[in-house]
Subunit: 378 residues, 2 copies
């Protein structure tokens, strides 16, 4: 194997596939990065067997030459050293060459690295997706869909299915839902016309978080294919594959109250900052609790107290308050996460009493829904 | 106590004194920050009993009003919450008020914090320096003197005296020296005419590192006073006091070879980058070793090998090589630290054989000296 490649192109691809590589894998060769040289370009692969990422660098692209003098071949290289080596090479072009003894030579300027490789034949075959069915959506929309839901997955392994994000595609509407049983985040968006439908697909939250780090903020399409146990996200030069979680995702729609007793309209940022301040005094307590008290039609008071440290209180003016007066306590962390996910200036909060879950939505009816269970205070 | 103060002024001062506050102190009240209001301004104090920092905010400065409505008094407040509270206050002005029950109220906009304070009378009296003798130097020069030496202090408590930087003032020349017994860094600079002289002052490396974080990059003077067991650095609005280390600092001048067998002149940055690359393959081994081999008058080869991973070699062109050919192995970490401390484009390295300490100096004879002990390789 041999090729001469632009250092900066190589750096980007290496960083992308590194997201799948873990030093704690049980399959030793998966601590490596697979490099394959083909006539038309270079393919890098990284995998921890849950997530697999392939990054493709075409030899030529938009009339620019990325790679020259390609001799086909493949090798697996220790991923621990390769990214730093590539990043610190002195010149813009890098020559990479391997011999029959699995020695890899990296040359750039006067620097020469000789590294021990492993046989690419021993690298596990990645599962191939047995489906021709796929649907497309803009990459940036997938990213915001993920960002608005994935924070609500459970981090506890007691109910593994809740560590994933539930995906449903029905009548050209894609819905993401995540819940840790104390709160829930969901959003639905229309997708391009497709025959694909599914309803019990659960993608590990970690996979979506890693995918979001790699995808660019671009409206270019990402193509999504789903089988029973795998999901594939494919962009122009990237394939991101994740296993799915086994099991049935709980029915969440009945958790969502369909009527309300108290409705607040408020500026998202103002409420967020006030709750952020109120949460300052109880840093060490997880999910520290704040209290919201309505005070007539246009005022809400946010309070918190931590017996050893002190108390904090702040009034904010709301745009409107309809329905019953209310006192309710909840986790400031959940509320901050939910308000950050809204992404609109104005928010509508619907309560059905101090002991019932409440709902936070953008005032403009964009179908983002955040639900939080209150905390009982005595 | 009561005053209204600019939030941004308060944030800066709080951040400065926080540098002295540790949550692991044995004296509970030292986890707090002392606030004193005087007619002319506010004094904040933090201390971990090794380091004490006082920051002063004058009520008026350059015809700007920083503080208004001062009622004198003092209180000690838990330092854990105060910085975040101040930083997140909604308005530019902050009202701070304490009552006779040691309750402190912080008001800004509609936000109100009520915090439990402690009696300032219980805060330890900081040692006062019994000396009228002091000398001055530009703040930025003190910072660079520190940066060029403090990294070489020992981090091991086996010889506590080596965890400090040795300061000597003699004939209007100030010398800083640090060594961990494997390497040594020193620099001397002229100071303004002064009667002060001392020769066995050892300041904890940690104190100087914290001081460097607080001092601005300004040529304004810093005034330094020294007693038997304390050193005080004073700028316009800041007092930084540190205890000194007990014991005799070793005589280091005899470590420095006064003749040399091989002299290299080389571009600092080029050598630094080459050694940085050569050090990449042995990340986990502390102080990983690289080898330097002269190859005639104008070439030097830097190599390193890590049996399991591979080897790296790079030639660099030197400006000149005089004397005997040489092969020498040393810690790449020490070499990188030393070259970074040089701060000039061209460097002169003087060797006296593969088993003897070698010296790195700027080519322009600025009295910065870095000494490194080689590593024996078999």
């Amino acid at each position: 194997m041999k090729f001469i490649i632009s250092r900066d192109q190589l750096i980007t691809s290496v960083q992308d596939v590194m997201k799948a590589i873990s030093s704690r894998t049980v399959i030793p060769i998966l601590t490596g990065i697979k490099i394959e040289a083909k006539k038309h370009g270079i393919i890098l692969t990284g995998s921890d067997s849950d997530i697999s990422i392939e990054s493709y660098i075409p030899a030529e692209q938009d009339e620019n030459v990325n790679i020259e003098h390609i001799e086909e071949g493949s090798i697996v290289l220790q991923a621990k050293y390769f990214p730093d080596i590539v990043r610190k090479l002195p010149e813009k072009m890098v020559e990479i060459e391997s011999d029959e003894n699995l020695k890899l030579t990296i040359r750039s300027g006067k620097a020469e690295f000789n590294l021990n490789g492993q046989d690419a034949e021993e690298y596990p075959q990645l599962p191939t997706l047995q489906t021709d069915e796929s649907f497309e959506m803009p990459t940036d929309l997938l990213k915001s869909l993920t960002k608005q839901t994935v924070f609500a997955v459970s981090t506890m392994e007691t109910r593994p299915i809740l560590t994933g994000v539930h995906m449903k595609l029905n009548a050209n509407t894609l819905t993401f839902t995540a819940t840790d049983s104390h709160r829930l985040a969901s959003r639905e968006i229309p997708v391009n016309e497709t025959n694909v439908e599914f309803s019990n697909i659960v993608v590990p939250g970690k996979s979506l978080t890693e995918l979001n780090k790699i995808l660019g903020d671009t409206p270019e399409p990402v193509e999504i294919s789903v089988t029973n146990n795998q999901i594939l996200f494919r962009t122009k030069h990237l394939k991101f594959m994740s296993r799915l979680l086994d099991g049935n995702y709980p029915e969440t729609s009945r958790l969502i109250p369909d009527q309300s007793k108290t409705v607040l309209h408020v500026k998202t940022k103002e409420l967020l900052n006030t709750i952020d301040r109120a949460s300052l005094l109880a840093k060490e307590e997880r999910n520290n609790v704040v209290k919201l008290t309505t005070e007539g039609d246009h005022l809400v008071e946010i309070t918190s107290n931590s017996p050893e440290v002190g108390t904090v209180a702040e009034e904010i003016t709301v745009q409107s308050m309809e329905g019953e007066e209310l006192k309710i306590s909840f986790s400031s962390k959940y509320m901050i996460d939910a308000l950050k996910a809204i992404e609109y200036d104005d928010v509508k909060i619907e309560f059905t009493g101090a002991m019932r879950p409440f709902i936070i939505r953008p005032a403009n009816e964009d179908p983002i829904l955040q639900l939080i269970l209150p905390v009982r205070t005595y």
